[in-house]
Amino acid sequence: MHSKVTTRRRQAGWLLILPLVLILVPFFIVPIIGVVAASFVQSDGFGGIIPSFTFDNYRSVFTSALTYQLYWATFKFTVFAWFFSLMIGFWIAYFLVFHVRNPLLALGLFLLCTVPFWTSNIIRMISWIPLLGKEGLINSALVGTHVIGQPLDVLLFSSLAVVIAYVHQLTIFMIVPIFNSMARIDKRTIEAARDAGASRFDIVRLIVLPLCKTGIALGSIFVVSIVMGDFFVVKVMSGGGSASVVGAFYEDIGVLQYPTAAASATLLTIIVSLLVVAILRTVDIRKELTR
């Protein structure tokens, strides 16, 4: 009797999860398999493929100096975007949870930070143009106050602009999970630490930071995977000065070089997965999420 109920429950679980699986299989697993498969076939040079097995696409990816330059550039952007979004995100979350005394106000300020997340990324990116441009607000202000004699060129269409746009878009991915982790910290723990004579710096280092590990890991996964998979921020904000891994294989698609693009895409997917797995190893994300 008992086992029958358990079986029925198990089946119910599967019926409930089935729709999710039915979306993820054709639109996540199959496309990935398709890309991996396409990376081993030959291109006929006209957008078609010759069904044969070859490693040539990978050979050309790995022997091209361009590949390494692209990955180096993308890694650099990833590290900068990750570092700044983590620094800003952590302290914003810390401020909201531990410094704002009215919980309703904290929630309101938290929502204030999240609202832009629900608006268009592309629009938020181009909205830096009137500020950072050669005749933009920042340059006019700096020239107007005689801080500099000539408008700065490096503000827009540069690596700096790319990093600014990333941090602008991605800090929210740090704030939300870190805020969530911090809000769960039992305030009595902190009181106890304070009573025991811990300084506020010690409290952050020894209590808050370790208990926010999951939030930081989750935020890092988002930031790393989004920057590694991005091409439009780099393309628009660098003004063509920098390229990205994804941007490069998007160009390949444009000239119908599917197999080369597929090899490149497979490599990127493997690297992103490895990074995500490495981050996941530091925390049991599922236990934390479903707790």
Binding site: I17, I23, H99, S120, N121, E135, S140
Partner: protein
């Protein structure tokens, strides 16, 4: 006192305790408060400032350029946006994006809700499904787009915004929806629906009368994610939408071709729609919460 809903008194206790813990006995603010408050204000200014700039600049007249100073005020660029050929089919893109977002929202809410219920208990392969979902969330969007395009090529299926792009967007909105459901479910007491079942409610009645009303604010939040993530989705849609553009694709081609304030006008219009949706959703959540807080007291 017995009329007091338990939730309220718990909330008050928590508030009192938090109030005490957060305000040290000295009462004064530590110096870090002022530093972090300044950081927070700077962050919010940097977050909204640029957006506000383009809203203002979109109201220039015909002489308007891409940077300040403001040249006149008019609705010229909004009219331009919807009437000029060179800005492309903005009206069509709008209507497609909204219809697509509505479809994605409905599907995301239903499937995330079901998945949220499923993940309450362990089932065979639950970890596989979980990591599949995380994989779908972190996979580079363009790689999935290439994959969908290749598969359609092999199968001889045409890509279009209401089939392949719909699926591609769901592979992005569903993991978000389910993650939001996890957060919501963590506050759901399994005893509530067990109690309903013990009192003789059918599975359908339990869902309709107990689970859905309790989870309603969370479901609205899932809907908010579903709509806005679909409405602004770009990388996964780029190679899967077929010949007709959605709005973000239209904006993308405009950033590469159009160098007039009509680009900003489009930004203003699309952000207004986002704000409208956000307002409706947050308003609905607030109303539900308020009714809950006030409900039992009115008896």
């Amino acid at each position: 006192m017995t009329d007091q809903p338990l939730e309220n008194s718990v909330a008050r206790t928590v508030r009192v305790r938090r109030g005490r813990a957060l305000a040290p006995s000295t009462g004064g603010r530590p110096w870090t408060f002022y530093v972090l408050a300044a950081l927070f204000i700077l962050y919010v200014v940097a977050l909204y400032g640029p957006m506000v700039c383009i809203y203002i600049l979109s109201f220039q007249d015909v002489r308007g350029g891409l940077v300040f100073p403001m040249r006149g005020t008019s609705l010229h660029w909004f009219v331009d946006l919807f009437t000029q050929v060179r800005t492309g089919d903005v009206k069509g893109a709008f209507s497609r994006s909204i219809r697509l977002a509505v479809a994605v929202t409905v599907i995301t809410v239903v499937i995330s809700f079901m998945s949220g219920l499923a993940f309450r208990k362990r089932f065979a392969g639950d970890s596989v499904v979980f990591y599949l979902m995380i994989g779908s969330l972190v996979a580079p969007g363009l790689v999935l787009g290439i994959g969908v395009g290749l598969i359609c090529n092999v199968l001889g299926v045409e890509t279009s915004w209401y089939t392949t792009a719909l699926g591609a967007q769901l592979s992005w909105t569903l993991p978000f929806g389910v993650l939001v459901m996890f957060a919501v479910m963590s506050r759901f007491d399994n005893a509530w629906d067990e109690a309903a079942r013990d009192l003789g409610a059918s599975a359908w009645q339990t869902t309709r009368l107990v689970i859905v009303p309790v989870l309603a604010p969370g479901l609205v939040a899932v809907a908010l994610f579903g709509f806005t993530l679909s409405y602004d989705e770009f990388t996964r849609t780029l190679l899967t939408a077929g010949s007709l553009n959605t709005l973000p694709l239209e904006i993308w081609s405009m950033t590469l071709n159009v160098t007039s304030p009509s680009l900003y006008a489009l930004g203003t219009v699309t952000t207004l729609i986002s704000f409208l949706i956000i307002g409706i959703c947050l308003g609905t959540i607030a109303r539900i919460q308020k009714r809950r807080a006030g409900g039992p007291a009115a008896h």
